[in-house]
Amino acid sequence: MKHKRSLLALLAAAVASGLVLAACGSSAASPPGGSTLTSSSKPVRGGTLVYLEDREESCLDPQIGGDIPQAMIAAQYTDNLVYEGPDGKIEPWLAKSWTISPNGRVYTFTLRDNVRFTDGTPLNAAAVQANIERVVNPKTDSSTDGGYIAPFYQSSKVLSPYVLQVTLKTPDSSFLDVMAQSYIGIESPKGFARGISANCDDPIGSGPFEIKSYVPNQEIVLVRNPHYNSPPPGSPHTGPAYLKEIIWKIVPDASVRWAALQDGEANVIYYPPAEDWASAAASHITIFTHERPGSPNSIILNAAASPFTSLDVRQAFLYASNEKASLKSAYFGTYPYVGSPLVPGTPDYDSAFQNAYSYDPAKAEQLLEEAGWTGHNSHGYRTNKLGQVLSVSIPYDSDPGYTPSEDLTLYEDIQAAEEKVGFDVTLDPLSSTAYDDLWSNGKYQTLAGGYWITNTPDVLRTLFSTQALKYYGTNASHSSDPQLDTLLAEGLAEQNPTIRQKLYDEAQAIVSKEAWILNLYPAEERLAIASNTHGVSADYAVGLPDFYSTWIS
């Protein structure tokens, strides 16, 4: 049960509090790590927060599959082994300290000894070990966590009740970053011993909230964990959460979520429609955004399917798309354009590729001519010597939770731009099931809506390596380049930041040159917050909503 395309792998310490936003008054993002609550704003305990999400969780347990909505809910009821701070540094959380062997393969974690899961069982070294061994077990179908950890995991050993030693086969410079993601929020082994299905509906963590009830595709009710004592560093407060309860509803349609917020039926909504941002202030609504690292939202080109087996055609498609102007128009200027393989803010991001494929229809036409698409049919679309038409299908998930109207506008603009140079582009709306099937069977020319959120440049291995193509099913562009594989493997193992940056620069150069994806914009945490709701925050790394210090006036 996974949504590979939303691929996310959010990183970073989930619940944590960074960028706290006080929605009172004119509301502005707070200084990192600090509360913005003013002296006149005294947090109120109690109250129910209604949060509207755009799409359903296939399973509330983020270790199964591993999709964004799962990590979002996990951020509320789990803690992580480590925390990623505002400067990208890994800080203690459940692990109060750790050591790394000189060869980068052995991690020894010393855990806090006073944390319990909400089922009453202690959160100790054996529990963390059970979590790690669970996600590396292929039977768990933990595509996100397992994809990160399994290839490098060798063994683990409980040295004492609160000391765990993890040994990797080869050095993995992203291991701690991954352990800071809510995708691998630490869960109660007693909970997942009940079986995957039971744990999906009622997972148990040690976080500030616990799951009270769950009606699939409708709502989740979370209640405060009255014994909570393990907030991450920099949290605005300690002890249990202020809110008594969170009602977490699934409302795919953005305009419906917005209307509910305006009408006072919701306190916070996810992904407010961009066209309504301008009227937010008049409604005393605060818009909060936080860029997520990883790979940008994109249209993936399948290098194993005609016509994109040709590098010239792939590059022509990118030169012709005019996506920068389209993005500005479709999203009313609310999204920055990202043309590079990595989103700015991702470690080892190289800005040199940001404008690698600036709009250049003449160049696109030249490349298509060189690729043999020299003829034109009666509709003006290009043809080759065999009489084949340069047709391209762009499938997308018609669920507005996956493809909001702004995305569709963007795709339609791109379609029109591509047609100007002779591509016959059709947009194909698919049900979520059909889209997932397509992703799995690889029978597509392109896929719209692909992105991957993670706080490491290793996302390039996840998306473009031969390893990912053969074993993980995450390489949707079917790319395979031995030189790139080598660079990505070396980059992951490299402990020296300077050398690692160089390796990833070279890797980004290859990915950019090969034109395997049409990059569009960064995935962002986007929230709209009612004026009576304060202290909503997001973690620094990936911006998962954090309601630990949220209160309602």
């Binding site: 349609d253 953005a254 305009s255 917005w258 429609p273 066209e275 309504d276 301008a278 009227s279 102007a325 389209s326 500005k328 128009s329 479709a330 018609s398 507005p400 909001p404 109207s405 702004e406 569709l408 506008t409 795709y411 339609e412 603009d413 379609q415 029109a416 059709t426 947009l427 194909d428 709306p429 698919l430 049900s431 059909a434």
Partner: protein, 298 residues
């Protein structure tokens, strides 16, 4: 319940209408009234839009203009522009072909299926009649829109699916009407007379029963087109019909719904056109119906 949802009384259920007798009686020309005239005029314009849309709109319904997105109605853009900067008036005009074609085709599918089932029940053995009638009752247990949704869910979205789905959704209603009509005609004196004269069953069916039983379908079909357009628009609105950027009216409504707070014309205009088209076909259908009744009653 809206006007469009109002049940249409089948001709065979109207007590003053002897089935099969429609070819007797004198013709009498009467002033049709403003409603039917306006309906006819509107539909005539739509027919022009279907056949030669370039006579009514000079632009291209698919041309995007990122510098002219969401412009309100003006002299330059009569119905404003959409989120891609496309001219809404041009899209509405060109959308007539798509939407009306879907409406007509879906009605044809519904009528065809209805005829097959209705004729089988009306002309077949008692056993067939029983089976078909029970089958129709089962079908009636499902809301028509649900049947259509089920079909689209099973066979995927798209214009073809949409046409068949709406056709299937409407077929049970047509089938029941046709069955009743056929049974009524089958038992009329002139059919009885033909039978007594020794005409073959085939000749009786094709010369007497079918022509007279089918005549009311002109009315039903006209009324049905409007309903089919509304249904097709509803399915397109749900993202189950025409793929973007096709200027299908329901799809236009769907694409514009998130912009309603900043661009009312994206919803109001396609919505109004759908309503007007349905009203026009309904008004015309009612007029034809009254015409037939009038001829019969004189």
């Amino acid at each position: 319940m809206t006007l469009l949802d109002a049940p249409i009384t089948p001709l065979d259920e109207q007590p003053h209408l002897p089935p099969g007798a429609v070819h007797v009686g004198a013709r009498r020309r009467r002033w049709p009234g403003v409603g039917p005239l306006l309906a006819g005029l509107f539909l005539a314009i739509l027919v022009v839009a279907v056949i030669r849309p370039s006579l009514l709109a000079h632009g291209n319904p698919l041309t995007v203009d990122q510098a002219a997105t969401l412009l309100p109605p003006s002299i330059h853009h009569l119905f404003g522009t959409d989120q891609n900067g496309r001219d809404v008036y041009t899209r509405v005009v060109y959308g007539a072909r798509e939407s009306l074609s879907i409406g007509l085709a879906a009605t044809a599918v519904g009528l065809a299926l209805g005829m097959i089932l209705g004729l089988a029940a009306g002309l077949g053995s008692k056993w067939i009649d029983t089976v078909v009638s029970r089958f129709l009752e089962v079908m009636f247990a499902f809301p028509s829109m649900l049947l259509a949704l089920l079909f689209v869910a099973m066979f995927g979205a798209g214009v073809t699916s949409l046409i068949i789905a709406v056709g299937i959704g409407t077929a049970p209603g047509y089938a029941r009407m046709i069955r009743g009509q056929v049974i009524a005609v089958r038992d009329t004196p002139y059919v009885e007379a033909a039978r007594v004269l020794g005409h073959s069953r085939k000749r009786i069916v094709f010369r007497h029963v079918l022509p007279n039983a089918m005549r009311p379908l002109v009315v039903l079909g006209t009324l049905g087109v409007g309903q089919a357009i509304v249904w097709a628009s509803a399915l397109s609105f749900l993202g189950l019909g025409a793929a973007p950027p096709a200027p299908e009216w329901g799809a236009m409504l769907a694409a514009g719904r998130d912009y309603i707070s900043v661009a009312w014309w994206l919803e109001l205009i396609p919505g109004a056109v759908i309503v007007l088209t349905s009203l026009a076909t309904t008004a015309l259908g009612r007029h034809i119906q009254r015409g037939i009744e009038g001829r019969i009653s004189t």
